[in-house]
Symmetry: C2
Subunit: 366 residues, 2 copies
């Protein structure tokens, strides 16, 4: 593979020294960008996902327009259940809808095993086109939903407030839930491996709904399957990021899951987490996405606060353990960027991370 010009993101994932903190934004190829909306006016969401040239185009937009240090392939986590045979539609206002959710053994039996290379070839093609057009300027991240998060959508069928259906399933028929989760874990492991083979330089597992579970249920129904995926993926040294949104009492377990990077939402202080789990994994996050509604002075202040919190903890860890790490942080929002954010503010956010972290890294370098 050719050398990547800006490899800060990959170095930070591996906790190698960096001269500044890399930054990207979850959902950075999205509706807040006029350039993205211009394309979406002509094609619906799933067409965009399934047309490699278009997917590559919107994947690269934020690299050029916002200045992020990594691209993430434009796709949707629900392409896996769709490939398994579930009819998926994206309804305006409602979001994704599965007309026939999975609720019992016979529904489950209708799901077919997938071969990611053929059933999700459009994602692999999108990665190839993206790699070619990006020309190694920055790394490209592949991704998948976690088995638990995919199961949640498959059982609920649409967005949910209380997740009554999927909770009923795990509490009333845990055997079926585990059977489905295992099937999904195999599919996800194959899918992520195929993305790496198609040129992705790292992968992220989005466990968007990990946080609706108690710590005990999280371990049983989500974390175990994430560990299974990481252990069975075919990979070289490409980093794996796990983002279990809303999960906050399981960081130590996540740190020994095999993940290289743990994603944090904005409801935790990143320094507190770093002190708790030490230096064995990198951390990604964690600014409140709504801070981008504020003026630039406030955005800058918040960027500095998070960088400082991380740096203080890194220094404390060094003091106590004898070996700290001033890197190991990938800046990001704590959740996806919202569709009504001004692109100008996203750009300023990225610029502040770059400027402020350079100052800080030179101050705390050994």
């Amino acid at each position: 593979m050719n050398k990547i010009e800006n490899d800060l993101f990959l170095r930070a994932c591996k906790r190698l020294p960096v001269d500044r903190t890399p930054v990207w934004i979850m959902r950075q190829a999205g509706r807040y960008l006029p350039e993205y909306r211009a394309i979406r006016q002509k094609y619906d969401f799933l067409t965009l996902c399934k047309t490699p040239d278009l997917a590559a185009e919107v994947t690269i937009q934020p690299v050029d327009i916002i200045g992020v240090d990594a691209a993430i392939i434009f796709s949707d986590i629900l392409v896996i259940p769709e490939a398994m045979g579930m009819a998926l539609s994206i309804e305006d206002g409602t979001g994704p809808v599965f007309a026939k959710p999975i609720r019992d053994e016979s529904d489950a039996a209708s799901l077919k095993d997938i071969d990611p290379g053929t059933d999700l070839k459009f994602v692999m093609d999108a990665l190839s086109v993206t790699k070619k057009e990006l020309n190694n300027r920055v790394p490209v991240i592949g991704f998948s939903g976690s088995p638990w998060t995919l199961l949640t959508y498959m059982v609920e069928g649409r967005g949910s407030k209380n997740f009554s259906q999927v909770k009923s399933l795990i509490f009333r028929n845990p055997k079926l839930a585990h059977k489905l989760l295992e099937k999904l874990a195999k599919a996800v492991a194959g899918y992520l491996s195929a993305q790496l083979e198609s040129g992705a330089n790292a992968v992220q597992i989005f466990d968007t709904w990990g946080g609706i579970l108690s710590p005990e249920d999280y371990r049983e129904f989500s974390l175990e399957y994430i560990k299974m995926i990481i252990a069975s993926m075919k990979k070289n040294d490409e980093p794996v990021i796990v983002f279990s949104k809303g999960v906050h009492q399981s960081f130590s377990e996540l740190a020994s899951s095999g993940a290289d990077v743990i994603g944090l939402d904005w409801t935790v202080d990143i320094g507190t987490v770093k002190r708790q789990i030490g230096n064995d994994v990198a951390l990604q996050g964690n600014m409140d996405p709504t801070v981008l509604y504020a003026d630039k002075a406030k955005i800058k202040k918040e960027v500095k606060r998070i960088l400082q919190s991380y740096a203080n903890a890194a220094n404390d860890n060094r003091d106590s353990a004898g070996s700290g790490n001033s890197g190991g942080h990938i800046f990001n929002l704590g959740h996806g960027i919202l569709p009504d954010i001004e692109p100008e503010n996203a750009r300023a956010f990225v610029e502040f991370v770059k400027e402020e972290s350079i100052k800080q890294h030179s101050a705390i370098a050994v």
Copy 2:
């Protein structure tokens, strides 16, 4: 005041010895009960809140039908903004709606100061009727929304996914946000004091949206005002419960807020929290409300698990600090009971807490 027959709830709030763990259920007077639905068929929600005899009737229903150890006055947190002059409607499917949300200084100027005793007299009257009809069988809990949670509804105007409006307010115009929060804190302190004077034996502050803030913002925009309320309330020794849903890195600060009891949602392990904060406050919670969809064997297993987790931590705290506390736990769900739960399962849940905690308390009593 006359002696309350079953005062387990109040004793547990004060961390006094109890021979079993008391239990009540958030939103226990609600739609899952056919007896409640029968009344709601005849009257709309706000009429029910504002008619003391009806409010008292539904307040007492779960004491008789489910067997809980405390009643909580039937009302809604939004009666305060309504009393301040905001037109409130409850729309089917949408929930509560304020037609004219508060977004700027001139909106804020239109809010009047309230005198809870007169402006919210219907709540005080409902408490008086409830006290009389309950005849001191169990304590009655009064409640209010926290200033932050009330502000959230007042600024958003209706349910929200990303809370863009209220976040924009605190990040762009923190001065106005603080002015509104202070006004609300004064109103809430007066309102809770009046409820105690009207016969409530304890009060709970519902900070339903505390968890959408970063720990730093939670401190500034929510916790400070909760502390202000507790410090300025007129009260004797009635316990104050604070339930900041989704807040999980601020338990130590909550423990020194002046609250007697901290409410926990189901995304934390109660034993882990007890070990962290010690024995100076009681804990309330924390079963996942969706466990009530399961069969009785699973409900019982989960009740036992939570009781055991608390007991183990209480024993550890005793070992290390020299004085533990086998009480100090009020069993509850981690959020309100869902409207499609079988009353039979709610009843079984309450019964399991009683049965299992008696065994445990006799096993660990000193």
